[in-house]
Symmetry: C2
């Protein structure tokens, strides 16, 4: 029987799950709706059923279940006031889910922490003890590994780089404050930057024909590829803000490498070049030339499943991991 | 025989050393010159001799030797390009010192990391797994404990909060960059702030009679006690900058408490009140009301010896510590 971990990635719309071994080989995956289950018990029942059906015909032995969810509290196994999930307040997700899998470890953390563990077990951070993973999606998430362990902090909410204040009088953030990093550095952030440039500047741009709701980071990338000056400047500004913020984060955790993951990271040189340049220019001299800025080494289509499964391998199956 | 640790605090002018047990009881201390020894071998010889003389008549058994020094590299046991010490380049301090104490662990780290361990073993952080110690001296140092371990990072230089950029166009820093936190928040920083206020404002102040070289943080404190408006404002500004920077640091390491240690921290309410207020006002909502801002609980006269000794207790004598 092949030892496997079950990874579950709970998103606002759908929940994906999959079965992988310590080397990253997949043994099937599936998905169910999240939004369609206002009742958490119904959701867990159908999720557990779908997982059981998935593994019943495979020659596998599950070592444990790793879960990624927004606002997840690793220590308590709860999901707390997640704005995009249908279940309100504090949901004791792990405790409730245990009735379906009573004899296996079940662990939960947020998406960015799962991404960091995925990078460590399956990606470019193999063998690293100190690194940062920045996930650039609708918002900006981050997971820090220090001394070979996930940095969780006192209440399990460490690694919220997206809400570092870069400008106290800056853009309004969903958290109720102003000038958080993710108001500039995220898919939404670059869109806001582009709209600010459309307002400030007079250059012609194909993006002047697109509404705020229609505009996406991908469209800005396509315009940049064609040499659109405002799209190029939006990427340059995004990278500058990210590079500066990372230079400050380096001072606190002294990482060997920083990995960029997610939608914006796919823009390649447009985001990596300015980020790397401003990171380097703003580093304390002792750190210059020493911090690697890298794209994530985890295959993107599978990253959420691999990351949540890594939560199990790191804690409960360290002996099975190929280093 | 009482088990003890030897703590050594290497400063630019003098080196203090002392013998303490796991409960913090002292068994003698002494000091030798640092500045008087351009040759590291002579320095180590006389330091080892002084330590041997100190312990020879005591009923003690040294468990190990902990050393605090500027620019110390924990992993390699070296002191690297310390501007205020007489020995230039990379000094393999631990390797060289081992000839005098061949059979005991010898560990070295920077002053702020030693202060953090001192707080954990002997001070207000007893029982805490996640906290920050900020040392406010001529500069600003910081030591982070996460998950019960000192945050050291990849090259051993984690926890350099003093060089976080708070204003990219701000004051020149000794590191060659601009706007580092310690250019505002330190004994030197508050002096620079006061001089800026003397230039900007027209209010009368007794501090207008004092030269830059004569001015100290203590004189600013005394003026504040008498209601001097510029001195009060200098403290308010210092606390605001510190509070804002700490709110960002909280997002990364999620500490239970933040301890302020050193000269400026002795200014009590003048520094704690604005720091606490701006910390709280700038925290992400999830952290509000949860982060304790506290004065160090380590007796100040002894703090450097206790902190460097803690380096040994934490690593080599955990079973002897009273929790």
């Amino acid at each position: 029987m092949k030892k496997v971990a079950i990874g579950i990635d709970i998103g606002g719309t759908n929940t994906a799950f999959g079965v992988v071994d310590a080397a990253g080989n997949g043994y099937g995956q599936g998905r169910i709706s999240t939004a369609g289950y206002p009742n958490i018990d119904d959701f867990q029942h159908d999720l557990a059923l779908a997982i059981s059906e998935l593994i019943q015909d495979e020659e596998v032995e599950p070592v444990g279940i790793g879960i990624g969810a927004p606002n997840a509290d690793f220590y308590r196994g709860t999901i707390v006031d997640a704005p995009n999930l249908p279940w309100k307040g504090t949901v004791p997700f792990v405790e409730k889910f245990r009735r379906f899998f009573p004899s296996r470890p079940i662990r939960i953390t947020n998406d960015a922490n799962a991404a960091a563990l995925g990078e460590m077990i399956y990606g470019g951070a193999r063998g690293m003890q100190n690194f940062i993973v920045v996930t650039l999606g609708t918002g900006l998430g981050s997971g820090f590994v220090t001394g070979g362990e996930l940095l969780l902090g006192h209440s399990g909410f460490a690694g919220e780089l997206g809400h570092v204040t870069v400008d106290p009088t800056g853009r309004m953030c969903g958290c109720g404050r102003r000038g958080c990093l993710e108001t500039c550095v995220s898919a939404t952030g670059i869109k806001r930057t582009l709209f600010q440039l459309l307002a400030d500047r007079t250059e012609s741009s194909e993006l002047r024909d697109i509404s705020y709701h229609e505009l996406t980071a991908e469209l800005i990338f396509c315009a940049a590829e064609k040499g659109d000056p405002l799209a190029l400047e939006a990427f340059a500004y995004t990278g500058e803000q990210l590079g500066r913020a990372l230079a400050n984060a380096v001072l606190i955790t002294d990482p060997e490498a920083i990995f960029l993951f997610g939608g914006l990271a796919r823009a390649g040189k447009y985001i990596f070049e300015p980020t790397g340049r401003h990171l380097e220019a703003n580093l304390l001299p002792a750190f210059r030339g020493k911090i690697k800025l890298l794209p994530s080494g985890v295959p993107e289509g599978n990253a959420a499943i691999l990351g949540t499964a890594a939560l199990i391998w790191h804690r409960d199956g360290a002996d099975l991991i190929e280093r």
